[in-house]
Every structure is written in structure tokens, then in C-alpha cells.
Amino acid sequence: MSEISDHPAASRARVPAFLRKVDPAVATAFGCIILLLVVGSIYSSNFLSPDYLVQQLKVASFLGITAAGMMLVILLGHIDLSVPWVMTMGAMMACAMAGYGTTGHVLAIPFGVFCGALFGLINGFGVAYLRIPSMIITLATNVVAQGLMVLYTGGFSPQDSAPPAVRWLATGFIIPGVPNAILVWAAVSALMVFLFARTAFGRSVYGIGNSERAAYLSGVNTRWIVMTAFVISGALSAFSGVLVAGYASKAAQSMGDAYLLPSIAAVVLGGTSILGGKGSYLGTIAGVILITLLQSILSVMQMPEAGRQIIYGVVIVSMLLLYGRSPATR
């Protein structure tokens, strides 16, 4: 190896073409996943068993769906901090809808997602048309969603147990051995990849992330696209909330709190630039799996909540220092 590393250019030429295209951040994320698996398997022999890995993927799918929406928004150079309560709201509204008989059961999931999309619409309208910084308005709508849910759950005892359809979607099996949640995540991922790679919308998202001004001057309806992206992000958050409710078989307050930081972390760890305009969906998948494995290992090691918070913070900051730095002023 030593004679190769003397000449970086020469060593680069020897790397196969398909490897040269790989984003170093994505490669690092996958490397870290393998590292975590190895470390975990040293700790416990169950770590590499198929059952355990499938279980991890199932847990990852909730985060993955949230992170897909978050990535869309981050690619635009914005951020969605309303994830926690939009998720909770999606879950609670879906469970509430299920209280209205057969129609309610049919409409439960669409209604939950619709509520999320509605909040996404408020966020998107504020960001795109009123030009309010995304961080500010999403922080505020998060509080409004929280207020609505406090009002809803406090007034009377609500229907909070998840309807069978939702439970089936999160924990049932169409293909034996593969929980439906993973299939749902795969479907969402396929749609996202299609959106990014094959539609004018996806191209515009990257364009706006790089320079909204240039995108606007090229004739892209940038405000419409920014708003739509927030609507999709809100809908996906709520959908993921519905699935979490199905997994836990009930909707609970503050169930979404545990998803904000990890979803941002997953997107950033996957090499998406927090400044927007750069990043691949594959990286986000890697980030989601990485975060889930990290969570799992920390919980196997019985790391208390405090330690987890510190580790999240340190991991995000160090990955940002590696990949997420702005260009220097001079």
C-alpha cells in the first residue's frame, strides 16, 4: 500500500471508476456502520443475527421516513424544527379519526398525514412567500401544534390506541420475515429517489439549494417548490408519527421529541450539506442506519439518556467539522 499512497493522483487512478464516484461522506457513513456492527458483535454475539438486524431496520424505518422529509428541506438550505409535534399530531389525529367507525378506520392514516401536510403548508407558506427564516417559523409552529395537542388531549379522554390498520402497517408482515414498516420505508425511499433523480421538482430542489437566485432567474418557480417541499416534509413527519403509534400501539405526548435531533443528524451524517444543494439520498439511508445502530448499541450498553444526548451532540459536531463547513470568507 505504501508505494500507492505516495502519489495521491496515481492511487486515485487505480481506484475502480464506480468507486471514484462515491461521495467520501457516504463511504464514511457506511464504514462507520460496519465498524459499529463489528464493535457490537464483540459486545454481544446476537448482534449479527438476522432477527436482530431486521429488528434494527424496522426501528430505523420510522426515523428513515422522517429523515427523508428533513433531507428535502435541508437540501433547500432550510430546516424543519416542527418535526416533534407534527409527528405527535399525525399520530394522535390518526388515532382520533379511528374512533369514528368504519369510515374513520379507512381515513385514519390519510387524515393523520393530511394534518401534517397542513402544518407543512403553514411552514412552507411562511418560508417561501413571507420570507420568514425557516428555523423561526418551524420553531413557532411546533409550539402551536403542541398547544393544539394539549388542548385536544386535556379536554376529554381521547381515543389514543392505534387502529388495527395502523398497527398492521407498522408491525405486520406481507412478506414473511420482513416487517411492513421496512417495506413502507423502501417505498418512500423509492419515491424520494425518483423525485430527486427523475423529476423537474427534484432537480429544482438541488438548484434552489445551490442558489435560489440563479434558480429563479432560470425560470424555476422557486417559491412554489420551497412550499411544496415543506408540505412533503410535514406529511412525511406525520406519516412516520402514525407508524410509530402503530408500533407502540398508541399515540403519546412528546413521542416525537426523540426524532428531531436524530433526523437532522442522519441527514448530516449522510453527507448532505447543511447549506443546501448537495447530498445524496443513499447517504441519508446510511445516516439513518448508522444512528439507529448507535442508539441500539448505546441502549445495549445501558447508556443513560444524558450520555446519549452528549454522544449525539459530539457526533453531529464532529461530522459537521469534517464535511459541513462553510467556505472561508477570504
Binding site: I79, G126, Y129, L130, R131, I132, P133, M135, I136, I137, L139, A140, T141, V143, V144, A145, Q146, G147, L148, V150, L151, G154, G155, S211, E212, R213, A215, Y216, L217, T222, R223, D257, L261, I264, V268, I274, L275, P304, E305, A306, G307, R308, Q309, I310, I311, Y312, G313, V314, I316, V317, L320, L321, G324, R325, S326, P327, A328, T329, R330
Partner: protein, 326 residues
């Protein structure tokens, strides 16, 4: 003639914050069953000062065109630290206070290092450091507890000469000793200039990095003062996540209400104080008007949404349609 016009233009945001506060406080007092007694003023001042410190911390960072989403967590962390070390004899207590304030400043300095020298985006950098600070706070105080030098606490949250709330005097002293000298110093000007237009400030040879770093450090110091005061107010240390994120949120609202531009370079930490008092009064008003407690979070959220949205709408400033897309 023209001199005071410039001054007025510069202070417009601060005066607007003061006006909002006075209007709201007048409505509050006139509907309060007891009216403006020394007791009511003391309670209002203590709660207001708590948020005012955090809002000033936020204001310093916002003036440099950044944002600090960890400010509430620094507040919580210093509260937990103070509940351990601000106890005992006069000397011990003094050392404890110094230690607490140093811890706050160090948190601010870490944010500053990451944002300025690490060139990270303030939003994600401070969300992550906020998680770290909260984690440390949780290690220090898994359960609420601890204590504080109660004589000092009672003195600082009580009344001077039976009338004036001591906390207001403390806040006034901090403004006089920390904020005004900073505002007049080269570094303070550099922080403003960096927030107003970083390239222009850089081209003019203003020490923008040092100015911004000083602003982040002072922000940590103010958040630390807030945490210290919270300990005096509650006698305990408590690593409460909801409280930390709530303070972060309301500090942003207070900054906006106090007439500080979220785009940096305009406003003053004094405006943030009025904004904090105004924000506090919204909560008290719901109480005075006997609003159903279940509705309070929603109404507060809506007030917050409207306040920050109106303050942050950039649409009104735009002269050329291309300025939408900076």
C-alpha cells in the same frame, strides 16, 4: 436636530419594545385583582428578569446575524452547576458564583469557536452543543435537587427598601457594567458590523472574528447569569428539557419583540429586556383574564407565532424582487 434623529432611528426597535411592554403591562395591571402592589411588581420583575437574561444572551448572538438554539440549555446547565457550588460561607458562595458564570461563558465560547473558527452553521452547531449541555446537566442532576445560599437568594429576589424589586436593580447593574461597555468598545462595534454586513466589515479591517467571538462569550455569560438567577429563584437545580427548550424559544420571541433584527446588526440588548418583559406579560395576561389552562399553551403558541412571524417577515424590506432570493 439631525443628531437626535439618527439616535431615534437607531433606537426605534428598542423604543418599540418598550412601548409594547408598557401597553401590555398596563392592561395586565389594570385587570389584576390586586393592582400594582409591591408584591405583584416583585413577582413580575423576578419572572421577567429570568427571561431577560436569556433574551440578552440570545440578542448578542442574533446581533452578529447568528442564532443560539443552545441558550436555554446553557441556562439549565448553569442552574444545575449553581445548585452544587453556590452554597456555604460568603467566600465559598462568591467562588461558586464566579465558577457558574465561568461555566456559562465557556459554553458560549465553545459555540463561538464552532461557529466562527469551525465555520459551522449556527443553527445545527448550537442544536448539537445544546444536546451536549443538556446531557451534562442531566448527569449533574438526574433528579431535581441541590441548594443555594438562601440569604443571598432571598436578598436578590426580594425588595430593596421594601419597594424596588432587587432583581431589577441587579439587571440594571449588569446592563451598566457589561452591556454598555461592550456596546461602546471596538469589539462591540465589530460584532454589530459583522452582523450588518460581514464582507463590508471585513473589507474595512474590522476585527469581525474577535468581535463575534466576544459576543458569543458574553451571550454564554448572560445565559449563565440567568441560570444563576433561576437557582436563586427556585432554590434547586433541575435538568428540565421542556424548560430549556421553552426558554430558547421565548428568548427568540423576546428578541424579536424587542426590535432586534434576526438578520443581524440592528437593535440592542436593552430592547431584548423589554421584549422579555413583554413576552412574560403575555403569559400573565392569560392568567389574569382567567383563560382555561388548557387553552394557554395554544394561545401562547399563537402569540409566539404571530410575534416572530411579523418580526421576521423580510417581505417589507424588499425593494427589488431579486432580494427575495438572497
Amino acid at each position: 436636530m439631525s443628531e437626535w434623529r439618527y439616535w431615534l432611528n437607531e433606537q426605534r426597535g428598542t423604543l418599540m419594545g418598550l412601548a409594547i411592554f408598557i401597553a401590555m403591562f398596563a392592561v395586565y395591571i389594570s385587570n389584576h385583582p390586586a393592582g400594582l402592589t409591591a408584591n405583584v411588581a416583585q413577582t413580575a420583575a423576578n419572572k421577567g428578569v429570568l427571561l431577560a437574561f436569556v433574551a440578552m444572551a440570545q440578542a448578542l448572538v442574533v446581533l452578529t446575524a447568528g442564532i443560539d438554539l443552545s441558550v436555554g440549555m446553557i441556562f439549565i446547565l448553569t442552574n444545575c452547576i449553581a445548585s452544587y457550588i453556590v452554597v456555604g460561607s460568603v467566600g465559598m458562595t462568591t467562588l461558586g458564583i464566579v465558577g457558574t458564570l465561568l461555566a456559562g461563558t465557556a459554553c458560549g465560547a465553545i459555540n463561538g469557536l464552532l461557529v466562527i473558527y469551525g465555520r459551522l452553521q449556527p443553527i445545527v452547531a448550537t442544536i448539537s452543543t445544546g444536546a451536549i449541555y443538556f446531557g451534562i446537566a442531566l448527569i449533574l442532576r438526574p433528579f431535581p435537587g441541590g441548594g443555594v445560599n438562601e440569604d443571598l437568594a432571598d436578598a436578590l429576589t426580594g425588595r430593596l427598601f421594601g419597594v424596588i424589586p432587587a432583581s431589577l436593580v441587579l439587571l440594571f447593574a449588569v446592563v451598566l457594567v457589561v452591556w454598555i461597555p461592550f456596546r461602546k468598545s471596538v469589539l462591540g462595534r465589530a460584532a454589530y458590523a459583522a452582523g450588518s454586513s460581514e464582507p463590508a466589515a471585513f473589507m474595512s479591517g474590522v476585527p469581525i472574528k474577535r468581535g463575534k467571538f466576544a459576543a458569543y462569550c458574553l451571550g454564554g455569560l448572560f445565559a449563565g447569569m440567568g441560570g444563576l438567577f433561576l437557582t436563586f429563584f427556585t432554590y434547586t437545580g433541575d435538568a428540565a428539557y421542556q424548560s430549556g427548550s421553552g426558554y430558547t424559544l421565548w428568548s427568540i420571541a423576546a428578541v424579536v419583540l424587542g426590535g432586534i433584527s434576526l438578520f443581524g446588526g440592528r437593535g440592542s440588548a436593552i430592547g431584548a429586556i423589554f421584549g422579555a418583559f413583554a413576552a412574560r406579560t403575555t403569559g400573565d395576561m392569560l392568567f389574569v383574564f382567567d383563560v382555561d389552562p388548557l387553552w394557554q399553551p395554544l394561545l401562547q403558541g399563537v402569540v409566539l407565532l404571530l410575534a416572530v412571524s411579523i418580526g421576521a417577515i423580510a417581505l417589507f424590506r424588499v425593494r427589488n424582487r431579486l432580494e427575495w432570493f438572497q
